[in-house]
């Protein structure tokens, strides 16, 4: 098994198991507020982050867990933050909606649709001025419904800043929507890249279920951006995981099973159908068919990931709730020096 295959598999599994744990924590009443999971989009974050360097900046949305994990964030500190504990990345102040890891070049997460696009464009300007790094903005399809998208694209192109816009399109075509389903954008463009193409920003679409295709795509596009080529836009055509149907994610069919890559089937029809567009299952099947790994190796990786997640959960649950006095801190930088 090549190092690349095992690290890809571990990285995707890590996200999947982390999210399953979040859902379990929410069920157990330990996770306050509402939250979003990245199940079904794991390959995007893994492929994109593999193409990045430590000096690069990443911006995300409410659906940020996968981007952080793929960037190397600590699952324990992430979960502690999501549970509102003092050991979290922001000591409990950000929660899942604004989860970020500044030391990993992920300064902040805006929970406003489109909110991070101008920020990422500004980060790219900072990269250009400082002569190192690029910015990557991950955002959902609804980002294109906000004016900030167009305003950011225009400035990015006119100023030729080094930024890669990654639109993770998990929308559902209007005809397939069910009532009460989690919001989905309605964009009249056939391909989202057509929009930026008209602004002379080169764009392409890539299959979000195909990790290998995305590895190639992100490697090439980040190199172009890094070499002064200006902004690039990529539409990642994601599949919509059946659990992502409402504000509160569910886990239809239970935790993902390795056996599902070996002919086993979930007991929920929607999940059976979805497995053919699950990036994790697809990657496994492809590697199995190529003889790149066997079941024992997969089980060993999964066991290691699960162990890491158990440790993360322990860390988070052991972490104390923040002191009330923390609520008053960090309002101003000047306040810190006065303290």
């Amino acid at each position: 098994m090549s190092a690349n295959v095992s690290s890809n598999l571990a990285a995707m599994l890590k996200i999947r198991r982390f999210e399953e744990q979040c859902i379990a924590m929410a069920r157990a009443g330990k996770l306050p507020g509402h939250y979003h999971v990245y199940i079904g989009q794991e390959a995007t974050a893994v492929a994109a982050c593999a193409a990045l360097k430590p000096e690069d900046f990443l911006f995300s949305t409410w659906r940020n867990h996968g981007h952080l994990l793929a960037r190397g964030a600590s699952p324990g500190k992430m979960l502690a933050e999501i549970l509102g504990r003092s050991g979290g990345y922001a000591g409990g102040k950000s929660g899942t909606l604004h989860l970020s890891a500044n030391d990993l070049g992920m300064p902040t997460t805006s929970a406003l649709v489109g909110g991070s696009l101008p920020l990422a464009t500004g980060a790219a300007l900072a990269c250009k001025r400082q002569g190192k790094g690029i910015a990557v903005a991950f955002f959902g399809d609804a980002g294109l419904e906000e004016g900030a998208f167009y305003e950011s694209m225009i400035i990015a192109q006119v100023w030729q800043v080094p930024i890669l816009f990654v639109c993770e399109n998990n929308s559902i075509p209007p005809k397939d929507r069910k009532r009460g389903q989690y919001t989905s954008s309605t964009l009249p463009a056939q391909r989202l890249g057509d929009v930026t193409q008209s602004l002379q920003i080169p764009s392409e679409a890539v299959d979000g279920t195909d990790l290998t295709a995305m590895e190639e795509c992100f490697k090439r596009l980040t190199a172009e951006v890094r070499n002064g080529g200006g902004p690039r836009f990529v539409e990642v055509c994601c599949s919509r995981w059946p659990g992502n149907i409402m504000t509160w994610p569910e886990l239809p069919g239970g935790d993902w099973q390795i056996d599902w890559a070996f002919g086993g089937k979930p007991d929920v029809d929607a999940m059976v159908a979805w497995l053919s567009s699950d990036p994790l299952s697809l990657y496994l099947k492809k590697q199995l068919a190529a003889g790149a790994l066997d079941r024992t190796q997969i089980e060993a990786i999964d066991a290691a990931v699960k162990k890491e997640m158990t440790g993360a959960a322990q860390f988070a649950l052991d972490s104390a709730f923040p002191e009330a006095s923390e609520a008053y801190r960090h309002v101003f930088a000047a306040q810190e020096s006065a303290l």
Binding site: G92, K93, S94, H98, A111, E145, S185, A327, Y328
Partner: protein, 322 residues
């Protein structure tokens, strides 16, 4: 029959839509009910032309509502969280609020923007704010903040019938509150505060979810022999200063409480007005209760530490009496 705040708003919308075909609803996912289910089912009766789902485009949909209002329709727009109204500020502040004035009275903007405020456990700094004081600063906007389901019913009906742009503020912690809708309930006056509890020692001035909190505080204080008059403002613009002055003349002591940040809040405006209009009537400085000067943090423990509740109101009243 008992109805929740959500059910009652839906009923008011439904009845007003029956009454006037110019009224239509728009907002993100309103056909499916919106984020909190307020408009659920209305599309079945009134159709997709009158219950319109919009893109996630706060600036454009607020502008469109204003444009449609200028040209004959009566839109009721839902902005999912008041935090997102920041994206609609140009239209609300520079446009909707000004057209009547700028046209020398020729134009009017009969539009209601329903939005939702407050902290309710783990929604963090961008989904928990109470930004109403920004809007009272803008001449031309009516600002309504109901305190209960029945109040919301009457105030929403009136808001829809006005010919001015209205910001209608719903508090998320009130959504599950239930009340009987009395027989014959109808529109309530805009610009008239309500004495929610009569008392003689201290006046507590509140609005929105804080009314319930103040009533609980008044109950507790009554056990100590302190009699509080609780005034529900109902509308922040116009402000019913007469009712406040009447109460202050009687009690001579005032606490103003709101969930919004105390600094620059609605309480500051009221305190300033009472301070100059009723200086002679006051036996003690006016006291404000509000959120400390910090954003709303995610962790529920931290959120609790900041949010003012009945304890803070009681403490303020006791200090005032002492």
């Amino acid at each position: 029959m008992e109805l929740t705040f959500i059910d009652i708003i839906r009923r008011a919308l439904d009845e007003e839509m029956d009454r006037d075909a110019a009224i239509y609803l728009l907002g993100e996912d309103v056909a499916a009910g919106g984020a909190f289910g307020v408009t659920k089912g209305l599309v079945d009766k009134h159709g997709t032309n009158r219950v319109k789902n919009t893109p996630i485009s706060e600036a454009a949909i607020t502008g469109m509502a204003t444009g449609a209002a200028l040209c004959g329709l009566r839109p009721v727009l839902e902005i999912m969280f008041i935090d997102f109204a920041t994206l609609a500020m140009d239209c609300l502040v520079n446009q909707a609020a000004k057209y009547r004035y700028m046209s020398g009275g020729q134009l009017s903007v009969p539009m209601v923007v329903r939005t939702q405020v407050g902290a309710a456990g783990g929604a963090a700094a961008q989904h928990s704010q109470s930004l109403e004081s920004w809007f009272i600063h803008v001449p031309g906007l009516i600002v309504v903040a109901p305190s209960s389901p029945v109040e919301a019913y009457g105030l929403l009906k009136s808001a829809i019938r006005l010919s001015d742009p209205v910001l209608f503020i719903e508090h998320k912690r009130l959504y599950a509150m239930k009340e009987d809708l009395p027989e014959g309930a109808g529109p309530l006056p805009i610009g008239q505060a309500r004495v929610a509890r009569a008392g003689k020692d201290v006046t507590i001035i509140v609005y929105s979810a804080m009314v319930r909190t103040a009533l609980a505080a008044a109950d507790n204080l009554a056990k100590e022999g302190i009699s509080c008059e609780v005034i529900d403002l109902r509308t922040l613009v116009p402000l019913d200063i007469e009712t406040l002055l009447k109460s202050v003349t009687k009690t001579r002591r005032v606490v103003i409480a709101h969930e919004a940040v105390e600094v620059g809040g609605v309480g500051a405006e009221i305190a300033a007005r009472l301070g100059s209009l009723a200086f002679e009537e006051l036996d003690a400085p006016i006291v404000r209760v509000g959120c400390p000067f910090a954003p709303i943090p995610f962790a529920p423990e931290l959120e609790k530490a900041l949010l003012p509740g009945s304890r803070e109101i009681e403490k303020a009243v006791r200090e005032l009496i002492a």
